[in-house]
Symmetry: C2
Subunit: 576 residues, 2 copies
Amino acid sequence: MTPILRTSVRAGSYHDSVVLMRLQQALANLPGVLDAGVVMATPANREILGASGLIGDGAEAAGPGDLLIAVRAESDGAAAEALARVDALLSIRAGGGGEGGYRPRSLDGALRALPEARWAQVSVPGRFAAEVAHEALDRGRNVFLYSDNVTLEDEVALKGKARSRGLFVLGPDCGTAMIGGAGLGFANRVRRGPVGIVAASGTGLQMVASRLHALGSGVSQAIGTGGRDLSVEVGGISALQALDLLARDPETKVIVLLAKPPAPAVAAKLLSAAREAGKPVVVNFLGKNPPLWRLGNVRFAVSLAEAADLAAAAGSLEPAEEVEKESGESHPTGFFRGLFAGGTLAYEIQLGLQIAFDPIWSNAPIGTSRTLDDPARGSGPGHAILDLGADEFTVGRLHPMIDPDLRLRRLRAEAADPSVGLILLDVVLGDGSHADPAGALAPEIERAISGAREAGRTGRVLEIAVLVVGTDEDPQGMEEQIETLRRAGARIATTVEELVGIAWERLGPLPDAPGLPVPLEAVAAPLAAINVGVETFCDSLLAQGVSALQVDWRPPAGGDERLAGILRRMKARSTE
Amino acid sequence: MTPILRTSVRAGSYHDSVVLMRLQQALANLPGVLDAGVVMATPANREILGASGLIGDGAEAAGPGDLLIAVRAESDGAAAEALARVDALLSIRAGGGGEGGYRPRSLDGALRALPEARWAQVSVPGRFAAEVAHEALDRGRNVFLYSDNVTLEDEVALKGKARSRGLFVLGPDCGTAMIGGAGLGFANRVRRGPVGIVAASGTGLQMVASRLHALGSGVSQAIGTGGRDLSVEVGGISALQALDLLARDPETKVIVLLAKPPAPAVAAKLLSAAREAGKPVVVNFLGKNPPLWRLGNVRFAVSLAEAADLAAAAGSLEPAEEVEKESGESHPTGFFRGLFAGGTLAYEIQLGLQIAFDPIWSNAPIGTSRTLDDPARGSGPGHAILDLGADEFTVGRLHPMIDPDLRLRRLRAEAADPSVGLILLDVVLGDGSHADPAGALAPEIERAISGAREAGRTGRVLEIAVLVVGTDEDPQGMEEQIETLRRAGARIATTVEELVGIAWERLGPLPDAPGLPVPLEAVAAPLAAINVGVETFCDSLLAQGVSALQVDWRPPAGGDERLAGILRRMKARSTE
């Protein structure tokens, strides 16, 4: 007996994904049916069906907007019988959404019935989602936008509008949030507690929240932003709104910030906001943390699990350091230029800075640093970290740890460049090194600082910071070397972390964001929400005791895009 | 008064770098001289001179092998006077190397005078260094090879020879080591103690050693390897020798391993060796640590400073877990395939694995993972981690956290692929998710494992490991879900760290290295060493109380490469 494959295509047909999932399960369970597939006929979905032997002749005509139904059965009769039942199965009410209750056909209808709903949870297919989200914003509601496949342009427009009105748009592609003690989208049952979470990372948020619960801690608010929020184009609008809100929220004692590595310009803003939060902030930029433990009130966690561990232990963290709001005038400016004798030190400082500064140029680039084409000639037009002990500088010349000449010449050149605001140096003591490296550098450091001050009618301030590596038993004497450098005007660090901290002062305060802050009422308990889209999400809200209402949403023209286009043009004409 | 620039070129002239540095300093200090430069006329060095206004007409003829002397002076007379004194200044004995003592002209002569010297410290110019190092190896001596600009081919040949004879070649471009309580190259004065260091990173080693000293701890042996040791070509020969020696050394209680991110194949060997060391090992792969705290006895430090902190606290670390030496037969093999519903979890597991496994294919690549062109069709020919919740899989289809169908089909396909040895899954519980994800997966997991066992006449074992994210209050019941998965035969993890640990079992034991282990006597105190090259390094050894002897080394034919070539050919002919 050869299995029979039968296919049916329904052009431009829209059905809720839950309905399609249940249809497929129902077909597969019919007598004589071996397997069934029910998908929108996108290229990926067709390949998936094909891998299961569910693509046959009839499927060729189906396009991405068409519904493709395939049945493999023991006999032609069983296959035909199954396909004949599709309409009946589709007409069975999917359930969910407060079964049997009132189901308004529009957002306005839902808001009339549940006016206290401050949130709309939107999970309609991506191509329709922006319109629904705009509608909710226009009615003064925050949006949890689960839908994916929403364009970047739509995201930028939605978030700009939301910010100007003091509202959130979490998403698109936001999988989870915990607002006012209830979960939106996918969310674990977690006790309330002192940890506020901001996450451009759905299951990352769920992992951290679950572990906090297991550790006996809990969550105040957990705010997903959608992964694209931290792109240059969106600029972290939602994440910055969320950090601002959690900084003001009295129930949040510690903040966790999770994200894939953001664009450096966005990371710089996030870190400035974190620094100004006035409470401990635990940061995990997946796979691109700077190589350091902490900067003031900001701690870096190596993993999701450690982020939870650190946040749960927040009570034992030192209280956040007071961060003085710097005035714009005193904020140091200008590029940094590193002139290092130690290659590894030059690497680690690059890794420490590149999360927030970009581009960084180097003759020994690591991570995202860029290659400086001609390091012997100069340091390029921006931030730069040079390894003066690299091979190209040591042909017929002693290493800069012994011979200071090359570095002194470069130091002079950098100090004369008015675009430079900070020069980073290292001094490595010990046997084999120069007998008095601080003494060799000090006069040039002093000259550089005073020279910049004299030339500095425009307000230029040149800082010089030196990383000193050595011990109290080294022949040069560590304390004396440090004292010599200090007297010349240099700031001193003894770890790369400290040196990074000095450079990070240049991030400056966060400029005031345009728009309105989101009021704390937006996240107050109890949550009430309107659900537009996947009906099981409404069931989940109701199961948590949330006041929720499902909108019986249908796409324009039943999902037929050609017809929807005609309707749009007609509507436009009628309002001309 | 216009400054006068005068230049002198000495073709094919060799002088020790210390001599050149002192000549430059002496010229610059002559009356009427404003600045001076003395360099081998490489392109980089010419540009550096040019930036200081020290390149004039006479310099054009000078090539990389020529000595270029430039003087800028107040008058033509002063410039001429300075250049006229070059010969006299060059003839002044540079000092160093045990001034006034016996200075043998050859390594053999030195070894006759100091036969207990187990080490030769070599810092002659790169193009001559390999020959000197071979000479030392052939005389049964370990080599500390400070010289840079040595070819990769020479490094491979030297280290291969050394390994076959139970000797070290540390370097080329090795800046530092601490052997038998004394520093080679650049080294800080650090008390002896329980921490052994292996570092493909010179100033990284110095930073960690200095900080250990500051923390009250100390160093047993510190073994630099040169940065290129961890390349695919060299394969980590020196680092593996060093790990092996420190594992055997009774004075070493904890090991620190520092390196720029090694090639994954080399990292896998290093981590296998670390796991088998039988003592705590603190690892810092600059900027590419896996996102986890520890794997058995291996701890990952985020920074150089933290590496020192963790090593100093090693006494408070749990004692190393006993690692059973697995037999080759029982070692699990085959590719791993991850089928994830959680995007962030798919990212973190990639970051955890890619340090040691390469390539890893993914539809959602991060770090060094590669893009899978057609994820809907299959997982490619190797290791793969898929995010089944990515946009391309969710058009007109519910997220895999709700609809298990897609994942079940993929699981079946991966289990049927005989090249697959481990399947990684996640189960994310909570509101919004499937009501019983473990129940949906369990039958397929059971079928996959038993199916592979039945087909496994060739010894194939298929493992399935599941990361479960959730809380005890989630509607699905975390314990029940875990129990269901366990009964089906799956291994359970609740953090990505644990899941990485399961995958890392596949690294297997380290194969026996060819060659001989380096005997502990090689690093025993007191150190005695022959110095060939930079004389101040010999001074440093003597200042530390080391028995050291400077070889009065000269390049063949005085550094004239044309003449040296003729001599080589004559020598070759005479031995024909």
